[in-house]
Amino acid sequence: MAFSVRLERLDKRFGRGARAVHAVRELSLEIGEREFFTFVGPSGCGKTTTLRMIAGLETPTAGRIWFGDTDVTALPPQRRDIAMVFQDVALFPYMTVRDNVAYPLRIAGLSRAQVDDKVERVAATLGLADKLGQKPGQLSGGQQQRVAIGRAIIKEPKVLLMDEPLSALDARLRVDMRTEILRLHREISATIVYVTHDQIEAMTMSTRVAVMDGGRALQVDAPRTLFRRPADQTVATFIGTPAMNVLPASLVTTPSGPAVELLGQRLAVGPRHHAAVQGLKQVEVGVRPQAVRLVAPASDRVRGRVFLREPLGLEDEVLVETESGTRVKVVTAAGEEFPEGAAVGLELAPRDLYLFHPDSKTTVCAGLD
């Protein structure tokens, strides 16, 4: 049986006085049994520190950590029934692959036959059967990471922790390993807690994601919800590639109700958002590059010039400079239409716009309709 993991007002400070760093600030969240839970955020956001506290490698300054009904806050890593995959792989260089993978079992005191049997099975699962006699230094980066994963899953941990396990691999291999880790998650019965700075990894693998910044979880939700209903501007711009455009706009009152004036165009705010925008004068509008369409320039549209066009294959990334000088990034189908320098019109769909509060940057409404 896997454990649920509950963090209760978890707090961590490093150092003292003027040079103290407040790495994690009163973090509370619950990770369900057998969930694939990811902490994502820029470097220094506290995600790795949080993971290391769950592992028992760092002691929280305050707060508690629960595995199921057990308070593990004071338990050392050896007694937490966890396994961990490290960013730098951390294989024992003087041991063979077999000894590396078998290490947790040897410590647990299993018999030779039992150890051999399990090692063979894990090696087969990970495609390492013919590498068991080699030293880690003789393996490629991807194979090393597989060995590290093998060492982690062999003792069937209740909680499997992974600290940016793919960041040292090249792009191609990373995609392959993503699939492999997902397959593992289905096969083993462990709660997986995963840390990455790569939002694509977070979005594609996890059942739920915590977006961290400055030691806080800005939002904890399923990947799709993070994308569709981001809690604030930081989450909105962090999730999705290329990053969301954020443009200044003002709110005006018209006879038919409030409207947003964006790039010289007036867009009505749907009735369900009237209460939310009440009293606001200025807002910031978020537009995903995929939510803008390039059309022929016309007087009732936002007009601009194509400033830069980067072919990405199936799609092109286009940077448009509007008449007011604002630059908007657009993702559009690859093609010859609207080359660099051409005049162009922008079509914004109201339901794909996000309004952010100008000061707190929280999401005022997701979708204008």
């Binding site: 050392p76 050896q78 966890i82 396994a83 490290f86 960013q87 951390a90 294989l91 024992f92 947790p104």
Partner: protein, 271 residues
Amino acid sequence: MRQIQAYATLALLFVVLVIVAFPFYWMVLSSVTPREALFQPPYKFVRLDFSLGNYRELLFATEFVRYFVNSLIAAVGAIVLNVVAATLAGYGLTRFAFAGKKPFAFGTLFSYMFPPMLMAIPLYILFSALRMRNTYTGLVLAHMAISLPLNIWLMWQYFQIVPQSLEEAAWVSGASRLRALRQVCLPSARPGILSVAIFSFALSWNDFTFAFILQTDRTMFTLPVGLASFVEQTGVHWGMVMAAAVLVSVPTFLLVFFLQRYLLSGLRATG
């Protein structure tokens, strides 16, 4: 052109080899030269009238074996204590945060730069008070005092290049701190440990100052002191001194011969 360069390099190496090796050759040659022939011209670079008389006299008519055993005990003691202390200190310095860590580290280097001679008199007084003169314990501690600072510094450097995550991986695998140190950390630091062992041996084996000051009893003399006493007696028996020098070199030679691989990697890591 490239060939000429290669030959020039070889020639240069040969010259260096001759300069370095000739004294050793002369030492070995003199040690097997019969007593009467040693100062009898013409002096020869090659001779066939070998004699083991010097060795026989050295081993059976002097206290040489006694000195050799004393030196060996001191060296082994110094190696063991240095390796244990320097390893633990180096580990502690890299893995634990404690107050006064920086002053300790600087103090370590500073005390290494301290000329050992300045410690001789204070150590004599201290060890007299502790009744540790003419004991192996005292000698080993004295030798440790001169080599430990550099050894700690060496191990400190070594443990810095052993990634912390290796140990953490062992911990989450269930290994205790000591087990992780033994099975994961120490194998990675082995070249450092061997460097410490060789350095401790060399300092102890060659030490004259402390052995001379602390070991006043003839039966407690170490090799360097014992050899010097051969010279002080009226009429230096050079053949025997050369034979002793040859035997003194043997352990050093063996040690370096078998451990040179680690010694070199040790120098590279800290260089």
